[in-house]
Each structure stands twice: as structure tokens, then as C-alpha cells.
Assembly symmetry: D2
Homo-oligomer: 97 residues x 4
């Protein structure tokens, strides 16, 4: 149905961003292990969270650009409506996360 | 350029939702005036915030449905790309709010 | 139990902030009524949401300052633990809103 | 000044939670690598983000419990006020993340 996701052309960049976030999560473990002051750990938690949301926003942009706009361009309005609702629900999950 | 916004068909429902939120904000003032326990006020602040985000998500859905999908259906890919970026940035502002 | 909430000394300022937010919500209704472009309405929704969270953060600060620190200063550690959990849960509701 | 952070007694559990989150971030890379549908990746991004905020809330709770309540119990009201403002600002960064 959706063989090629919107982010396909730049898979490697998205994976690279996630690898950096993985490194940041390992950094958080080190901060805890070294008894870093709670507030400094929390500041870093917020930074990792922001980086993760950044990847989410990027995936959303690519999805709207390719999948949603693609359905609209093909003239399939029912499918477009369905995809838009699905995307809005995904945004809601990001907001509630 | 965008004479009719995506929410036009149901302006009255959106305004009705905002009127309810306005009433909730007045309710918050009453809670403060009556010296309600801080945590109970905070719970209500979260509820109003959620209601407001709900209106935001609804407007986003209508915008994607009408404006963004409309540009895609018309075959104007540059305009579509531009509108998608603009919508993603609006989502980012909601996330950071 | 908690006759005087933490925000008591400056009730009027909190109410004034909420009155401004109430005005902003009325402003949103006007934007919708005047067919303002969806994205501009969303930007304003994010601004109102931020203002509301600002009041929430202020109430949280006062609550920690007066109620939670008060329990701690009185040496009642069980009550302090209970109040801290309650405050953390309130923060969680703000995050999820 | 704060030699022993609030989370010290259970450092290992916090690190274990972060290790699970690290695994989830690696899982996200695999999803991207396998061309998983954008919305399914986004759902997982929201889940990881929620898990991370959960660690943040836990650290906040421990910090209020130990550091902030400790300052209050010692009768140092200036230090308590300072620590509360610092904690509230940390919550704000989590909210804006």
C-alpha cells in the first residue's frame, strides 16, 4: 500500500540523527552513573526529548509531502481525507507524549 | 491567496468550542478567587490547555484537508512543499507551547 | 488542610493573567469569525497555550514554595513525600495536555 | 554543594530505564532502515518520547523529595526559594521540549 515511505530519499540522514540521539541517551546514563546534579540531568533529558521531537517533525513533513500530497494529487479525495486524519492523530500522540 | 480558510464550513462549531474554552478560563479565575487548592487549579489548567490543543489539532486537520491537499490536487508541487513546511512549523509551535 | 493556597499573596496578579488569556481566547473567536488564515490562527493558539502553561508553572512554583516546602519545614516527611508525588503528577498532566 | 543527587538510592533502576530507551532508539533506526510506514514510526517516536519524559518526571520527583525538601527541612528559606525556582525552570524546559 505504501511501499516507499516519505523519508526514503534520505534514510541515511534520519538514521544518523537517531544514532546521535542514541549517543545522547547513553550520555544520560553516564550522567546518572557519575551522580550529576538532578537539574543538569533534567536539562539534558529535555534536550534529548527535543531532538527526538525534531526527528518526529521531520518524518511528519516528509509524510505530508509525499504520501498525503501524493494521494491528493492522484485525485483520491477519500484516501486523502483518511490520510490527513491519520496524520493529525499522529501529531496528537506527539503532543501528548 | 487563501480567501476561504479550511475551517469555513464549520466556523460556528469552532467558535462554540472557543466560547466553551473562554468559559473554562473564567472558571479558572473563579477557582483562584475562591482559594482553591493549587493542585486542583493545575488539573483544570491542564484540562483547558488540552481543550485548546484540541481546537488546534482540528484547525490543522481542516488546513491539511483543504489548503494543502488543494494545492497538491492542483498539481502545484512548489506551493505544496511550501504549505507543508509551513504546517510542520505550526505543529512545532504547538509542541513547544 | 490547605486553607491558604500558595498563590494567595498575589491572587490578583494571577487573576489578571487569566483575564488576559480570556481576552486572547475571545481574540481567537474573532480571528475565526473574520476567516483568518488557518496557520495564523494556529500560531495564536500556540501563544495562548503558552500563556496558560505559564500560569500553570507559576502556580506550581508557589505551591512548591509554600505547601511542599512548608510540609518539609514542619518535619512531616510522610506528608512531604505525598505532596511531592501529587505535584509530580500535576506536572505530568501539564506535559500530557 | 549537592554531592548526593536525589536519585542516588536507585541509580541502577534509572540507568536500566535509560538502557531500555536506548534500545527503543535503536529500534527506531531499524524501523527506518526497513522502510516502515511513516505514521508507524511516528507512533514509536511518541512512545520513546513518553518514556523519556517518564524518566524526567521520576528525576524531578526525587529531586523535590530529597534536595528541595531537604533545604526546606534545614530551615534555609532562601536556598529553598532558589531551588524551587530552579526546579520550575527545569519543568518549563521539559514542557517546551
Amino acid at each position: 500500500m505504501h511501499a516507499t515511505p516519505g523519508y526514503s530519499a534520505e534514510k541515511q540522514q534520519v538514521i544518523a540523527r537517531l544514532k546521535r540521539i542514541e549517543g545522547q541517551v547513553r550520555g544520560l546514563q553516564r550522567l546518572i552513573d557519575e551522580d550529576t546534579y538532578c537539574i543538569d540531568v533534567l536539562t539534558q533529558v529535555a534536550a534529548v526529548s527535543k531532538a527526538l521531537q525534531g526527528v518526529g517533525l521531520h518524518l511528519l513533513d516528509e509524510h505530508l509531502q509525499h504520501c498525503v500530497a501524493g494521494a491528493a494529487a492522484s485525485g483520491d479525495t477519500d484516501r486523502t481525507t483518511e490520510l490527513v486524519h491519520e496524520a493529525t492523530k499522529a501529531v496528537e500522540r506527539l503532543l501528548r507524549a
